[in-house]
């Protein structure tokens, strides 16, 4: 006969849940609306989602304010944990989503967006991600991970093409395997320490001085497998290119950013304490994984014939590049991670959106795939502005100064240098050089080749509507004038990261 549990509400500190709950409420609202009146226009849902995302942003800002005053916030039986990383990650997640949602407003109708469920799932997914980043409880991370993943599988499948389904199935199956890895890893740590809260695990392990190192390593391995899968680190990356190709360009762009930042935060929470407490093995492993991911992905990207697939590989390579920050594990590197990802988010979203607006419903003969290189041949003659913007994004991805991503690379490599990882820094630099080639390839096609057959540039902007143009314009402006914003952003990030002790 247990006594009734009595807990005071304020001790629960429910406010910490607000940021996650808002999108979930939004999702439910959408579903309810759909119940009462179906086949409403997608614009409605888009707007509702945007409103809720804005509210979400507000909530996050509020938590940020509190964090600034009173440091890390625990809540709900110490399950929730709002620190700098959580806030930054959520900002990126919600911000990127704000850029993504309006992409639904395409010119030609793609029927995934005509379902209200699409938006509901989308918001659920956000909630999942936010849970993941805002806790150090493995259960909650697991739950968040799966919620978001399952939603994501469905979103991909909703694109409703053969390739889309294939992608979804592949992603799903491998995701299930990854889930197995994660739970097993969590189990091992639970077995070792009797706790599933990362900081407690850390304390226990340090107390017993990593007595059974072997099992720690096993657990780490499994978690690395699971996280590596979501972060598409080689050799767990194999899903990425197919899924990116199968899903719509917009979704692909979204996938290349939001899930990964969430997982990066998890990785930071999980691995950095291990590295700092001298698990050299993990350091070596990460070193190898990072280098292999960067290099191999680059090399595969070289040989792609389809721009979207190339971008998929390039995102893998970028992920590897950023994973180095977790390996280095200094404040500078962790700040570099967030800086890089912010810059990467709108550059990459911009690039994918450019593909998105050039999406044809039916494939012309001379194209092997939706976005094959030769589709863009001679684009500058037919659609100069679009070509210039696309070229801009490519240069930025290649790390040509002064465009956005250059500053990320700069700070990241610098952090490697000051972290003492000389060779790593060189490898990162050389990889950027290799990457230069395939970004250049697209520029070459757009600016230096002659069009294959179609002389009208309409195909490249067939989907363009004002919202899309706005977003792309925003991304382009951000890419060009990033250097103005670098300083405040960097200071903000560094402050938060430092304050939360990373």
């Amino acid at each position: 006969m247990l006594e009734p549990v009595n807990v005071s509400l304020e001790s629960l500190n429910l406010m910490t849940l607000a940021p996650m709950l808002i999108p979930i409420i939004g999702a439910l609202l959408i579903l309810i609306i759909d119940i009462f009146k179906s086949d409403l226009d997608k614009t409605l849902y888009v707007m509702i989602s945007i409103i809720f995302l804005l509210m979400d942003l507000g909530a996050i800002a509020q938590t940020a304010g509190i964090f600034n005053e009173s440091g890390t916030i625990m809540g709900v039986f110490d399950v929730m944990l709002i620190d700098g990383l959580a806030i930054l990650a959520q900002l990126i997640i919600v911000g990127a989503s704000l850029l993504f949602i309006p992409l639904a407003l395409t010119h030609s109708r793609f029927h995934e967006f005509s379902y209200s469920e699409f938006f509901a799932l989308f918001l659920f997914m956000l909630g999942g991600f936010q849970f993941m980043v805002a806790t150090d409880n493995l259960i909650l991370i697991f739950v968040g991970l799966e919620t978001s993943s399952l939603a994501l599988y469905t979103l991909i499948a909703m694109h409703n093409r053969d390739k889309a389904f294939e992608a979804a199935v592949k992603y799903f199956t491998m995701g299930a395997l990854a889930a197995g890895f994660f739970s097993f890893g969590a189990m091992v740590f639970y077995a070792l320490t009797g706790s599933i809260e990362i900081n407690q695990i850390a304390t226990v392990l340090t107390e017993n001085g990593f007595a059974d190192m072997g099992f720690v390593l096993v657990g780490t391995t499994f978690l690395l497998g699971a996280i590596g899968f979501k972060l598409s680190l080689v050799p767990f990356h194999t899903w990425a290119p197919d899924v990116y190709e199968g899903s719509s360009a917009a979704t692909a762009g979204f996938m290349s950013i939001v899930p990964k930042i969430a997982l990066f935060v998890v990785a930071m929470r999980m691995f950095e304490f291990l590295i700092h407490s001298g698990v050299v093995w993990l350091e070596i492993i990460l070193y190898i994984v990072v280098v292999v991911t960067m290099t191999a992905a680059n090399i595969w990207a070289l040989v792609q014939n389809d721009v979207k697939r190339m971008l998929a590989y390039s995102s893998i390579s970028h992920a590897g590049f950023v994973m180095a920050a977790v390996l280095i594990g200094t404040t500078q590197s962790n700040s570099a991670l967030f800086l890089y990802w912010i810059l990467f988010s709108f550059t990459n979203l911009g690039a994918f959106s450019m593909l998105w607006i050039s999406r044809q419903k039916h494939l012309p003969l001379h194209q092997s795939s939706d976005h094959s290189y030769n589709k863009f041949a001679g684009m500058v003659q037919t659609a100069p502005v679009a070509a210039t913007i696309m070229g801009l994004f490519m240069l930025s991805l290649a790390g040509i100064p002064p465009f956005a991503l250059f500053w990320g690379k700069l700070y990241m490599i610098s952090s490697a240098v000051s972290g003492g990882y000389t060779v790593l820094a060189l490898i990162m630099a050389l990889n950027s050089a290799i990457a230069g080639y395939y970004y250049l390839k697209l520029i070459v096609f757009m600016f230096m080749r002659d069009p294959v057959i179609n002389k009208d540039g309409h195909v490249f902007v067939s989907n363009a509507t004002h919202p899309l143009r706005t977003i792309i314009g925003f991304a382009a402006v951000g890419t060009i004038f990033a250097f103005v914003a670098i300083n405040p952003v960097l200071e903000f990030i560094t402050a938060l990261v430092f304050k939360s002790g990373y």
């Binding site: 389904f165 189990m187 792609q304 697939r309």
Partner: protein
């Protein structure tokens, strides 16, 4: 003899390995899903055992969540599977390789 924690752990490990092998060998999508279920449930066993060993409920909580998630995974998975079957009326993995390289 007394059944101790290690036996459960060994059992779950064995199950997990079986699951892994299944995941690798199975060409039938449905069977693949079963294999993944085995994976998750093997973990559940050990969670339960460990939580009993430590005498706190966290592990069992985790187990419950795992079960729930497994269930929802099946839901999504089967949905996808059915759609796929409708389109190709086959659930053989080797058919799914239009995207490669």
């Amino acid at each position: 003899m007394e059944i101790g924690l290690n036996h459960y752990l060994v059992l779950s490990t064995i199950l997990f390995s079986i699951g892994l092998v299944g995941v690798m060998r199975r060409k039938n999508l449905l069977m693949l899903f079963f294999a993944t279920e085995i994976l998750l449930n093997s973990v559940n066993i050990s969670f339960a055992a460990i939580s009993h060993f430590y005498g706190d409920l966290t592990g069992q909580m985790f187990a419950f969540f795992v079960i729930a998630i497994a269930a929802s995974e099946v839901a999504v998975g089967l949905g996808l599977l059915i759609v796929w079957h409708k389109r190709h009326n086959a659930i053989d993995l080797d058919l799914m390789s239009t995207m490669k390289g």
